[in-house]
Structures are given as structure tokens and as C-alpha cells.
């Protein structure tokens, strides 16, 4: 009987301490976002409404990061960032005429800074809370399934023409859009279904066209992106 008050006090104190720790972590994350991320990323929206705003965008919009990215991938990527868009956010600002075709002008591209494990965790935690665009995402829209590599590639290339702008492995595919061989690890499946159905709903001026994919094709495409990520991780 005597222990009950003590337990209650301990529980309340523990909960308060946990809340304080959480609050501090969140505050650190927000501070990091403001000091290290806000210069290149839009954290509050809206997406660019003019071409000039699109051209000026230095990094992906993050005001819907919690609906878009997988937390585990983000936390790892922030510690060891790699280039996802071979020609930068707006490709035309980073290319030059070459002898055979336009080429990427590497001198114009900046590297993404790497964060410490602690900072990556704190930043990921606060980014996952940014969930603009939830109206566009249907939870459970993606139904896990499989597709063969050959069928997936046939669809991605010959039938839908996605390969024109996206690399499906390092050194193979188009360069103006983000590579897709890590998309399955990087992006939430329900977001992929939503974005691929209507890219302009998320980003009105994007140079990613609406391919008017059927529901079946959307599912198959996400199966394929997941397969590509599994293959690239081997």
C-alpha cells in the first residue's frame, strides 16, 4: 500500500522526463532544419507556382517529407548522402552542350552536407512530422506484390517511357529526373501511388509528366521500383 504513491510519482516523473527529452530532441531537430536545411529546402510550402520558382529550387521540397520519405532511409542517407538527381534539382541549370549530346556540368553541382548520426536522427524525426498533402495520399493504396525484372523493365521502358528520364541502374537511363534504383527504399509506397497518379497535384510545375497510368499499372510500377531497390542493395 505504501508503495503506490511512490510508483505513481515515479511514473509521473518518468513521463515528464520522457516528454522533456522528446521536446528537446524535437527542438534540436527544428533548430537544425532552420540552420542547415532551410537555405535549400522549402519546409513550409507551397510548391513552386511559376517556372522561375521551379528553376530557383535548390533541393526537394520537404514540407510533405513525412508523407514522402521512409524514415529509415532518410536517417541513413543524411549521414552518407549520395546524388539522387544526376543533373541536380533543375537539370537545365546544370548541363552544357557536348560533342554527342548535352552533358552534365559537374562544376555547377553542389554536394549535400553529411550530418552526424545524432543530427540525422533529430532531423528525420521532425521531418517525418511534416505531412502536407495528406489529402492526396490514401493509406493502404499500395498492395504488396511482385513483378519479374524483365516485365517491369519492359513496362518502365517500352510501354510507359519512364526510362527516358530516369536511371534504373547507375549509368543506364535518363538523367533529368531522379534515379529510381533506390526509390523503393527511399519513398513510401502509398506516396508513390499518389505521385505517379498525378505528379502535378504535388508539384504543379514539375517536368515529370502525368502518364495517366491505370490502377493496375500503378501497382506494377511500385512493385518494380521495390524490386530495383532490392537488387541494388544486394
Amino acid at each position: 500500500m505504501k508503495r503506490r504513491p511512490n510508483l505513481t510519482i515515479r511514473f509521473v516523473a518518468g513521463t515528464a522526463l520522457f516528454s522533456v527529452v522528446l521536446t528537446c530532441a524535437a527542438a534540436d531537430g527544428e533548430q537544425l532544419l532552420a540552420s542547415r536545411c532551410a537555405g535549400c529546402h522549402n519546409l513550409t510550402g507551397p510548391a513552386p507556382a511559376t517556372l522561375q520558382a521551379l528553376w530557383d529550387r535548390k533541393g526537394p521540397d520537404l514540407f510533405y517529407a513525412g508523407n514522402k520519405y521512409k524514415a529509415l532511409w532518410m536517417q541513413q542517407w543524411l549521414q552518407k548522402p549520395t546524388r539522387i538527381r544526376p543533373a541536380g534539382m533543375f537539370y537545365a541549370a546544370h548541363i552544357k552542350p557536348g560533342p554527342k549530346s548535352d552533358e552534365i556540368d559537374d562544376a555547377t553541382l553542389d554536394k549535400h552536407p553529411a550530418l552526424s548520426p545524432e543530427d540525422a536522427k533529430a532531423v528525420t524525426a521532425v521531418l517525418m512530422q511534416r505531412k502536407s498533402g495528406s489529402d492526396f495520399v490514401t493509406a493502404g493504396a499500395y498492395t504488396p506484390g511482385t513483378i519479374s525484372s524483365s516485365t517491369g523493365e519492359m513496362m518502365f521502358d517500352k510501354f510507359r517511357g519512364c526510362l527516358a528520364c530516369h536511371e534504373i541502374e547507375p549509368g543506364f537511363g535518363g538523367l533529368s529526373g531522379p534515379e529510381v534504383y533506390t526509390a523503393g527504399a527511399r519513398l513510401q509506397e502509398d506516396y508513390l501511388i499518389s505521385y505517379l497518379r498525378n505528379p502535378q497535384a504535388w508539384d504543379p510545375k514539375t517536368f515529370m509528366p502525368n502518364k495517366h497510368l491505370s490502377d493496375t499499372d500503378l501497382q506494377k510500377l511500385v512493385h518494380y521500383l521495390r524490386l530495383l531497390s532490392e537488387e541494388s542493395e544486394r
Binding site: A49, T50, L51, L54, W55, A87, F90, Y91, A92, I95, K96, P97, K100, S101, D102, E103, I104, D157, K158, F159, R160, G161, L163, A164, C165, F172, G173, G174, L175, S176, N198, Q200, P204, K205, T206, F207, P209, N210, K211, H212
Partner: protein
């Protein structure tokens, strides 16, 4: 004072609508730079950043003979509805969800500048 507020509000509203209208239609060369250059190239010669692994190469917009074989209606249709709409490659996407008809007409005029040609001129 209230008699003066209505004209003031009207002028501001009209200015806002004008600004929105101006914002709605981008310049043809800017739309070309944003949506077309990735495949058709900085110089419009069909040598864009994406051509390396494309199974069908993009149209050279400076090729007067090839471009003169396409009517303005065909060019409008292929930009708005994609290559498949005129029995051409699926690699040419439909841009009708991004560009309005006025902007697409502007792009057709821009293509005629690049090729320095008109339909049936060569």
C-alpha cells in the same frame, strides 16, 4: 470615405487578377527550357541530356525538312497528348496536364522559329 473604398478595392482586385493571368501563361522559350530541353537539347537539335539510352531518338527541332512535314495541328496534338497520339514514340509524353492550350500554341510558334520553317515549306 466609403465611396472611395470601392474603386480602390476594384483596382487592387483587377491588378491581382491581371497578375494571376500573367502568371498563368509562361513564355514559350521558358516552357521549352523546362519541359523540352531534357530530351530535345539546349540547342533544340534532339541531343538532350537524356538521349544516351533512348531507343527512339528525339526529334531535331532545327531540322527544317522534317519539321516542315508536320502541320501546326500535329505539333499541337503531340505536345498536348504525347507521341502515341500521332503514332509516334511513347517516349514523347503528353504535356497537357502542365501546359494550357495558349502555352502549347506558343510552343508550336517557338518550334517554327527553331526550324525556321512552316508546314509544307520544304
Amino acid at each position: 470615405m466609403s465611396a472611395y473604398r470601392f474603386p480602390g478595392a476594384f483596382v487592387c482586385g483587377a491588378a491581382l487578377l491581371w497578375a494571376m493571368a500573367v502568371q498563368a501563361a509562361e513564355k514559350p522559350e521558358d516552357n521549352y527550357r523546362t519541359y523540352c530541353v531534357q530530351c530535345h537539347g539546349l540547342q533544340g537539335n534532339g541531343k538532350g541530356i537524356n538521349v544516351r539510352d533512348m531507343s527512339v531518338q528525339p526529334r531535331d527541332h532545327t531540322d527544317a525538312e522534317a519539321m516542315a512535314a508536320r502541320s501546326d495541328d500535329d505539333l499541337f496534338k503531340v505536345i498536348k497528348e504525347g507521341g502515341v497520339a500521332i503514332n509516334k514514340s511513347v517516349l514523347m509524353p503528353a504535356w497537357g496536364d502542365v501546359l494550357n492550350d495558349e502555352e502549347i500554341r506558343g510552343l508550336v510558334a517557338h518550334l517554327r522559329k527553331l526550324c525556321q520553317c512552316t508546314y509544307g515549306s520544304k
